[in-house]
């Protein structure tokens, strides 16, 4: 069996098969469902680990299937895809554990977990895509798979949120499609190539290429929540917490950001993009999003909405890193892909814990909760400090490199944006911490349930603690060989080296 050709496909198929197996399960078959879920997630982790080791040792994994005349469906494991794949698979496993605990006794779990697994399939497909058409296919599949999760609760509010989500994402998908076909007609290929494949295109087509760039970025920017395309994100907070954790840390927003990375590096190429003059506008859009997201977050009382706007802001750090032409900034952007994912998912896990256990949805209700749920708040604290960029946490590494990269590329104004944003982050996160740890409780919280010695069920407690620990480790051990930081360095050298 030629593993090299089929492993990428297998990895995708696992979650697809899990999804198909879970859909018809009756609601009561809890054990079967949990075992399918966790078993699948674990198997995937193992296979991804295997693939990672293989890539490190020089194996070339690529699945290629004929799809359209002249275009193939390509799944390829290169350095960049592995970054996203490992992030997705690892966080997926944790989210599955969390979701099992969160949705205990709620209706329609089979349907939920079925679509959950479909989302994994789509995300891994996005990560492993080897050309733009494969990317497009899985990107749209992601939209379709996440919609039922948003409307899961079946209320009027969730239907409206779902509709908003669709309007944005299907519109974005249309833009992406136009851009892709136009690009194909100009260049004749869509394969992701390090440093891009467009430098050979005739000069007269360059204005068209600029428009195509805008179309592609707009289509991707919807999912990546660049302003003004971010409107769907705060609204989709009506979904259950595992869904928010998923969408905001792993799947949807990262898929958008990842797409932007691919377009700028492997379709256009960073040097070529700079020569077309599109990188500065992109940086400006990203910077505006950073500031805007943080400002809106300041005024939100609902905890999840505040976190949503924080996500809008933070994902643009990645885009900013990409848009600044320089290796340090690229490292910063790429490594933030991982770091932001880990930190944000911690925050959402904690928010979900507060909502599930104590019925807390608003920041104003959070006074004194540190005494009642200390471990959750510890994780929350680590997450927020990381977001603000405090050393030695993961967030610090990303911001440092972004700042250095900005200076290196001569874009000093970016440093101001970063500093301002950190201040704003502190502005909307620190008061929460203060209230939680130091104020007296004001809310009517339900009496202590017996979770044994723990403040809430283990399934809800452990995942945020694990991710918080990761945030610390990723910061402390950034220079270790397998860390996301070193990985990002590796990817960057491929892109920039002569």
């Amino acid at each position: 069996m030629n593993w090299d050709a089929w492993l990428p496909l297998f990895i995708i198929l696992i979650s697809l098969l899990v999804a198909l197996a879970i859909f018809p399960l009756a609601e009561e078959k809890v054990k079967t469902r949990i075992s399918l879920n966790l078993g699948g997630a674990l198997l995937k982790l193992v296979l991804v680990g295997f693939m990672l080791w293989g890539v490190y040792n020089g194996h070339h994994y690529e699945t290629r299937l004929p799809f359209l005349p002249g275009l193939d469906l390509v799944l390829r494991a290169d350095a960049l895809s592995m970054l996203f794949v490992v992030l997705s698979t690892g966080l997926w496993f944790l989210t599955t554990v969390y979701a099992v605990g969160y949705l205990e006794d709620s209706p329609h779990r089979s349907r939920f977990f079925g679509f959950f697994s479909l989302c994994v399939t789509a995300t891994i497909g996005v990560a492993l895509a080897g050309n733009l058409i494969t990317f497009l296919l899985f990107y749209e599949l992601l939209t379709l798979a996440t919609y039922p999760l948003i409307v899961h609760r079946g209320t009027e509010a969730s239907r409206k949120a779902g509709r908003t989500y669709l309007i944005y994402t299907i519109g974005g998908g249309a833009l992406l499609l136009i851009g892709t076909i136009w690009l194909y007609s100009l260049s004749g290929t869509l394969e992701f190539t390090t440093r891009g494949f467009l430098s050979a295109v005739d000069r007269s087509h360059h204005p068209a290429l600029v428009i195509i760039f805008v179309l592609l970025i707009a289509g991707l920017g919807v999912k990546a929540a660049l302003i003004p395309l971010h409107g769907w994100l705060p609204q989709s907070m009506v979904a259950p917490a595992p869904v928010s954790a998923l969408l905001h840390a792993v799947a949807v927003v990262k898929a958008g950001a990842f797409g932007i990375i691919r377009v700028v590096y492997d379709v256009f190429g960073i040097e070529f993009s700079a020569s077309l003059g599109v990188t500065l506008p992109l940086a400006i859009v990203a910077a505006s999003t950073i500031i805007y997201g943080s400002l809106r977050a300041l005024f939100q009382d609902d905890l999840k909405r505040r976190l949503a706007f924080s996500t809008v802001s933070q994902v643009s750090y990645i885009v900013l890193g990409i848009a600044i032409v320089g290796p340090l900034a690229t490292i910063g952007g790429l490594v933030h892909l991982v770091h932001q994912g880990v930190m944000k998912i911690t925050l959402f896990f904690c928010a979900g814990n507060l909502a599930e256990t104590l019925g807390i949805h608003k920041v104003s209700e959070m006074s004194g909760v540190g005494k009642r749920m200390p471990w959750t708040m510890v994780a929350f604290t680590i997450g927020t400090l990381g977001m603000i960029g405090a050393p030695p946490l993961a967030g610090f590494i990303s911001k440092w490199y972004l700042g250095m990269g900005a200076l290196e590329a001569g874009q000093g104004w970016v440093v101001f944006v970063l500093a301002g944003s950190s201040l704003l982050n502190a502005g909307y996160f620190l008061p929460i911490l203060y209230a939680a740890w130091f104020k007296e409780p004001v809310g009517n919280w339900p009496a202590e349930r017996s979770f044994g010695h723990y403040e809430t069920s283990l399934a809800l407690l452990l995942p945020p603690l694990v991710t918080a620990l990761l945030a610390v480790l990723l910061g402390l051990f950034a220079s270790a060989p397998f860390s996301p930081y070193s990985w990002s360095q590796f990817i960057t050298t491929l892109e920039y080296a002569p």
Binding site: P69, L137, R159, I170, L177
Partner: protein
């Protein structure tokens, strides 16, 4: 064989009404097998020609099976299989007596049409098909469906007569009705122009292209679900198929302006049908308007006048046939289950009929042209053809149509997830019906993965295999 079998079946259903269902089902399987056999033959040996009774043209009837006919036969067979399974559960004994002979007759007409090699035979089969279809529409029996059936009949006859007049003019200009001979002998002349105009108009009426689509929503919206599926998926496509053959084989002298006109009408159909579909409150009517819109897509290939464009249109046709069948079947299930098909009151169908809703959603994905599906492949090919020919504005229409489709499909799905305020009595839906719907929808998605194979079949024989202008 594929023509004889359903005729025999129709007759036997008529003679032994009690056994209708069994006769129908058995025949369905045998027809599918025959089509499969024919496919193998064509794939291996290339296009074939067969003279009925040994009498060649111009006096006898010749049958031709090339790539395009084959695909049409295959899609008819697949849809037919699903419809037969579905209908065996759908109709009660009384209605079933009438349904099966008519359905077999319709199938016979369709198969004969797709295999015809001369334009007069096409007329005969077209009429036969129309009559069977009208009778099927009237099956439901109420005031609405009878009125719709009458209107459809008059429209159908009108269209056929226009077409026939065109045939007459062609025959008298060139002395033959055989399509390949006509293609060789054709020269431009006023008679030919008139013929082309007449035949095109007649066929447009039958294909329900805007603005001649007025008869379609009542007919498709009020007929019983499997009938609606047959009409939307196959019957309107038959006249499009004829139009396609005529334009490609017999009238390569067609002008640029005529192509643009058809494209414009197609674009209008897309936008008009899409907006109206969005405004419907009843599910089946919405799906009927969706058909109007999707037919518009097919006509966007005309102004492009490139082989890639035609192939894209055929691909869209195939995916639409599968997806629309699934959608109407899903609607039929919901109608049976809820007792009504008002969209705003679908009341958590997602929970209670998950397979049906899954079928609807997957069919919707194909209609929207989202990957992965047959609809996406067709859309991609058409967009590519549009951009390459420099007429990219048709591509914009296509994209807009996709967005409109998304709007009304997801409107239904959104309501299907949420709870309605009114309580409902619900009847059980036979599992066969749900499976049929889901199966068709999955095929529509599957069509997105076998594009290279289907496209290579299209290349067999004319009209795509030979070099056109």
């Amino acid at each position: 064989m594929v023509i004889l079998l359903p005729i025999v079946a129709a007759l036997s259903c008529f003679l032994w009404p009690g056994r209708s269902i069994w006769i129908g089902l058995i025949n369905t399987f045998t027809i599918v097998l025959s089509v499969a056999g024919l496919s193998l033959q064509v794939v291996e040996q290339g296009a074939g020609r067969y003279a009925v009774g040994g009498w060649e043209a111009p006096l006898g009837i010749a049958l031709v099976s090339d790539g395009l006919s084959l695909l049409m036969l295959m899609v008819t067979a697949v849809v037919g299989l699903a419809i037969s399974v579905y209908s065996s559960c759908y109709f009660n004994q009384d209605k079933a007596r009438h349904f099966w002979p008519l359905w077999m007759l319709l199938w016979a007409a369709l198969n004969a049409l797709f295999l015809s090699a001369d334009i007069f035979n096409i007329y005969v089969t077209l009429e036969l098909m129309g009559l069977a279809a009208v009778a099927l529409v009237a099956l439901a029996g109420g005031k609405n469906s009878l009125g719709a059936a009458m209107r459809y009949l008059l429209v159908s006859l009108l269209g056929s007569l226009f077409y026939l007049l065109g045939v007459v003019l062609l025959y008298h200009s060139f002395g033959t009705v055989d399509m390949s001979l006509l293609a060789q002998r054709l020269e431009s002349s006023p008679a030919v122009w008139a013929a082309m105009g007449l035949m095109t108009s007649g066929l447009l009426l039958k294909t329900a292209l805007f603005p001649l689509h007025f008869w379609l929503p009542p007919a498709h919206g009020n007929a019983p679900a499997p009938v609606s599926a047959l009409l939307s998926a196959l019957v309107v496509k038959a006249s499009f198929y004829i139009l396609l053959r005529l334009w490609l084989e017999v009238f390569p002298v067609a002008s640029f302006e005529a192509g643009q006109l058809l494209g414009l009408l197609g674009a209008a159909a897309v936008l008009w049908g899409g907006v109206l579909a969005l405004r419907q409150t009843r599910l089946k009517l919405m799906i009927a308007y969706s058909t109007v819109m999707q037919i518009g897509y097919l006509f966007l290939a005309f102004p492009l006048a490139s082989i890639a464009g035609w192939k894209a249109a055929v691909y869209l046709l195939l995916s639409h046939a599968l997806a629309k069948t699934a959608m109407f079947m899903a609607a039929g299930n919901i109608l049976l289950y809820e007792g009504h098909d008002r969209i705003a009151e679908l009341d958590r169908v997602a929970q209670r009929l998950p397979m049906t809703l899954g079928a609807f959603a997957l069919a919707g994905v194909s209609l929207m042209g989202l990957p992965p599906s047959g609809g996406f492949i067709g859309k991609w090919l058409l967009l590519e053809a549009a951009i390459r020919s420099g007429q990219w504005w048709w591509g914009i229409v296509l994209i807009a149509g996709g967005l409109l489709t998304g709007a009304y499909v997801f409107k239904v799905i959104g309501f299907a997830f949420t709870q309605s305020n009114l309580p409902h009595e619900s009847r059980a839906v036979p599992i066969g019906m749900e499976w049929a719907a889901l199966f068709m929808a999955m095929l529509a998605i599957g069509l997105g993965f076998i594009a290279p194979w289907i496209l290579s079949i299209m290349d067999t024989g004319s009209p795509f295999g030979v070099a056109t202008r």
